[in-house]
Symmetry: C2
DNA sequence: CTTTGCAGG
DNA sequence: CCTGTAAAG
């Protein structure tokens, strides 16, 4: 028996689901799909998109700002329990976390905060390497990790989503140029060091080792995808206990419709 | 000798000038073109659009709000003088009036204020027949008329533009339904009664009499143009002294690219 | 419905 | 560049 899971930052589910590329959903053969940046409440979507036949749909939408953030999980397997957002009110309201408890593992779908725009000093001059939302981002990661560790006491953990961090130089096309850009800052990378040190396995690297040029996001701004100038910031992590269950992990770089592409994981379970 | 003038509310010059319909400009054989709702500063346009060879271009752009209102005049004839906006600061800042003095007449290109949204009472309930900007609109018309009359003392006047008023029931497809809508309110119509009583001739009616079904604007909202559910709110008026010079007046209802179509005037001069 | 501006990514 | 808002027409 195996279970297949996929994660995709869709950059606006209303937009993607109106494109021909959304056939990806109908053609998919996986069991669980985690979407990020849905930027919509289910009521704003057509029923075929919001409540597809054969799937159970769960939503966490932003309540602080319309059309912002938001995650969804479609599952062919009925979860034992579902929880939206992190436990503390401090980290709630942006629609960033969905937690589905399945029989064999806790599943988390996360849209982790973007570092935001560069800080400016009192004269309006940008401060290199300082980004407005990096403190929030780091706090969110710490709170998430504590919650995941808590859940892990009962059963193994699977975490997917857009982490907005490339872990190592091999995980982005231009590491040197981006050492002072959010997404590849030392403190952001250090979080993934700690996270993996806790026993969360980067399943793509577990399967593919140091294979180069493997990315899941390309900036729209410079048509970077044509040249594969990308970042690997979308992940499937599993807690150490599930390492033996990793059958496959992949990046669906032939799937278009968003500035991210889907990433996937197959577990023997 | 004759002079041909055309007026067009383009509803965003950046948008129109990027459409194939903008060939209208290149194919035009008139001498003076007045545009309204340009919604752009000339710097935001390509040089071919902002400074076309063979034309002199003049601009009055909104300074109170970006991408709002704005008028332009392209002329193959060099004017003796050019003036932006009305003389009083009270009516300046929205980029609504361009005044070009030619040898034989004063030319005004106007984008007269829209009546705006319906007023709401203290409970948020709409007040039928009351519109937020109708007072501003009426004040603007009075100030414009005073200025035109002042200029008329030296030579005849030609006024074109979007008046945002249908004068008589024949000037819109659904007069009964719109008696309480801005654009056909009694007080707005009464302004055009006074304006024409002062001796400003509606050149289209002068040439075509009570020809029905002739409109220059159709709402995008209901695909009204397909059914010719329109309003004639774009005009060429000339002061009485020029009545004998009116050779032709027309509506270019086959020209697309905006929710308005161009209207034109040919004068023997 | 359509064009703008703007925030956010 | 692209997806969302909202204001205005």
């Amino acid at each position: 028996m195996s279970i297949r899971l996929v994660s995709w930052n869709v950059n606006g589910l209303r937009a993607v689901s109106a494109k021909p590329e959304w056939r990806w959903f109908a053609e998919n053969t996986c069991d669980v799909i985690g979407l990020q940046e849905t930027k919509a409440q289910p009521e704003q979507l057509t029923p075929a998109v919001a409540s597809p036949a054969g799937w159970e749909a769960h939503w966490a939408s932003s309540v602080v700002k319309k059309g912002y953030s938001g995650v969804a999980v479609f599952s062919r397997i009925k979860p034992l329990a579902v929880r939206c957002e992190l436990p503390q009110p401090e980290w709630q309201g942006e629609g960033r976390i969905l937690h589905l408890e399945f029989e064999k593992f806790h599943f988390f779908n996360g849209y982790f905060p973007n570092g935001g725009a560069e800080e400016v000093d009192e004269h309006g001059k940008p401060v290199p390497g300082r980004f407005k939302r990096v403190p929030y981002k780091m706090g969110f990661f710490e709170a998430f990790t504590a919650y995941a560790e808590e859940c892990r006491k009962s059963k193994p953990v699977v975490v997917c989503g857009d982490f907005n961090i490339a872990h190592r130089p091999i995980d982005l096309a231009r590491p040197k140029q981006n050492e002072k850009n959010t997404g590849f800052l030392p403190e952001e990378r250090a979080f993934l060091d700690r996270f993996t040190a806790l026993g969360y396995v980067d399943t793509f690297r577990h399967v593919h080792g140091d294979l180069e040029g493997q990315y899941s996001w390309w900036s729209y701004k410079t048509r970077a995808r044509e040249k594969n100038i990308g970042w690997r910031i979308d992940y499937f992590f599993v807690s150490e206990e599930l390492r033996p269950a990793i059958r496959d992990a992949w990046i669906e770089s032939d799937v278009y419709g968003s500035d991210h592409c889907p990433v996937g994981l197959e577990l023997d379970i």
